[in-house]
């Protein structure tokens, strides 16, 4: 277990002249679930988007499964090994839920339709919406849409799952059903990087917490230690605010 699945090395990302990420370094081992938190604008989304190169970073590198992203010549192949789940689901509205899940396996990976659909149905069952396969995204509740989006990401059999605030756009009663799916994934050994403000989820599921501020990782700790005694003052402040908000 010595080689990490993701190794971020002195990563730097600029939007124009604005530095969104500065000298970020971190290793994430296989099979771990890491929760990333921090104030708005601290660079959490940017960090996730660098890991599948949705953003082109300027400095440093990310090594995924032993291969440098900077040197990567085949982005589609890299990305098909990394599933991503978005705050606003981003299902394709003109395709049925089933077609949403099978599109990339069929088009990008060339799987036969029948095989892709079998996998898709199995995944939709697994996230608890097997009966919604024929509907369109607009006909589903937010929680169901997000679970469909998780199934879409899983259909590529990714080695890593990135979640960017997957429950932030959901009504409270739907948050639990999405978190349950994510918890099951983590329990089954999926490597996960999760940006979330759901501290109860973090406490229960995460192996480690990463705290970001102003484009840097300012604290990283095992979950229990992070919640009992965060060392960085900014992290303590943030934790106070977020825990006492409810």
């Amino acid at each position: 277990m010595s080689d990490p699945l993701v190794s971020i090395r002195n990563l730097g990302l600029r939007y124009g002249t604005f530095r969104a990420l500065e000298d970020v370094s971190a290793d994430f081992s296989r099979g771990t679930c890491i929760v990333i938190c921090g104030p708005s604008g601290s660079g959490k989304s940017s960090l996730l988007r660098c890991i599948n190169r949705l953003e082109e970073f300027q400095d440093g590198d990310v090594v995924f499964d032993g291969a440098s992203l900077r040197a990567c010549r085949d982005l589609p192949r890299l990305r098909s090994e990394i599933g991503m789940v978005f705050q606003h689901f981003e299902l394709y509205p003109h395709l049925s839920v089933l077609d949403n899940v099978t599109l990339a396996p069929r088009i990008a990976k060339g799987k036969p339709r029948q095989e892709a659909e079998e996998t898709a149905r199995r995944l939709l069952d697994r996230v608890g919406i097997g009966d919604q396969a024929g509907k369109f995204p607009g006909e589903l509740s937010g929680g169901q849409q997000q679970r469909a989006a998780i199934a879409r990401a899983l259909a590529l059999e990714p080695k890593l799952m990135l979640f960017d605030e997957p429950t932030s756009a959901l009504d409270p009663e739907m948050i639990a059903e999405v978190l349950r799916v994510m918890r099951d994934l983590a329990r089954n050994g999926m490597t996960m990087l999760v940006v979330t403000h759901e501290m109860a989820f973090a406490r229960e599921v995460a192996d480690e917490i990463v705290f970001m501020d102003k484009g840097r990782i300012v604290e990283r700790a095992e979950t229990a230690r992070f919640f009992s005694a965060p060392t960085a003052p900014r992290a303590r402040e943030f934790l106070d605010r977020i825990l006492h908000r409810l």
Partner: protein
Amino acid sequence: MNLNYTFNWGMLLVDPARSWILNGIAMTIGLSLLAWVFALAIGVTIGSMRMTRSRWLRFLGGAYVELFRNVPLLVQLFIWFFVFPLLLPRDWMMAWNGLDHVPLLTALIGLSLYMAARVAEQIRSGIAAIPKGQFAAARSTGLGEFQVYRHVIAPYAFRVMIPAIASEFMTTFKNSALALTIGVAEITYAARSIESWSFRGIEAFTVASATYMTTTAFVVLFMGWLERRLRIPGLIARR
């Protein structure tokens, strides 16, 4: 109101008015449909050029749109008709002038290229209306750039663009009337001929107006049908 004018609709039904009208209608519809096909093909190509990563293609696409959209169609038709042949090498010019239906070909070129710029612009704004997250989601699943457009963005954008594209189609019809200025005997030209031959302008131009209104009505019906057919279940029109 005391209108000192006796209508004579019957004269429209006898030659030469009758054949002028029929030929005019055929010319208007034929010219507009052909121009529309070219405008779509060229417009989609130019629109796509503006989506690529190549700075050069983007520049060329943008320059095309600005040029053809901002010079009035009438001026463009005159340029194609009077100036363009002069710029050709001598034997090409002879060949061009020797063709049948030079005014019609000129009108077809002018109208197609002009409408293509407008179509390209509609495509650009249609795609700009697609949420950025759709691109991110499609890319994140490992679709290549062309596949992203082909399977996710284009089908979505097309539905968003139907009303705008329908309106451009009707614009093509109406703009085809300008072809009369270079001697194409479309329906407005026919109406003018009837007017100067019989001094019955009201009847003649009523027929011309009716032609445009009827085709427009058909387009509206067809587009309504298309929109219903392609309606995305559960997606409330965003605008």
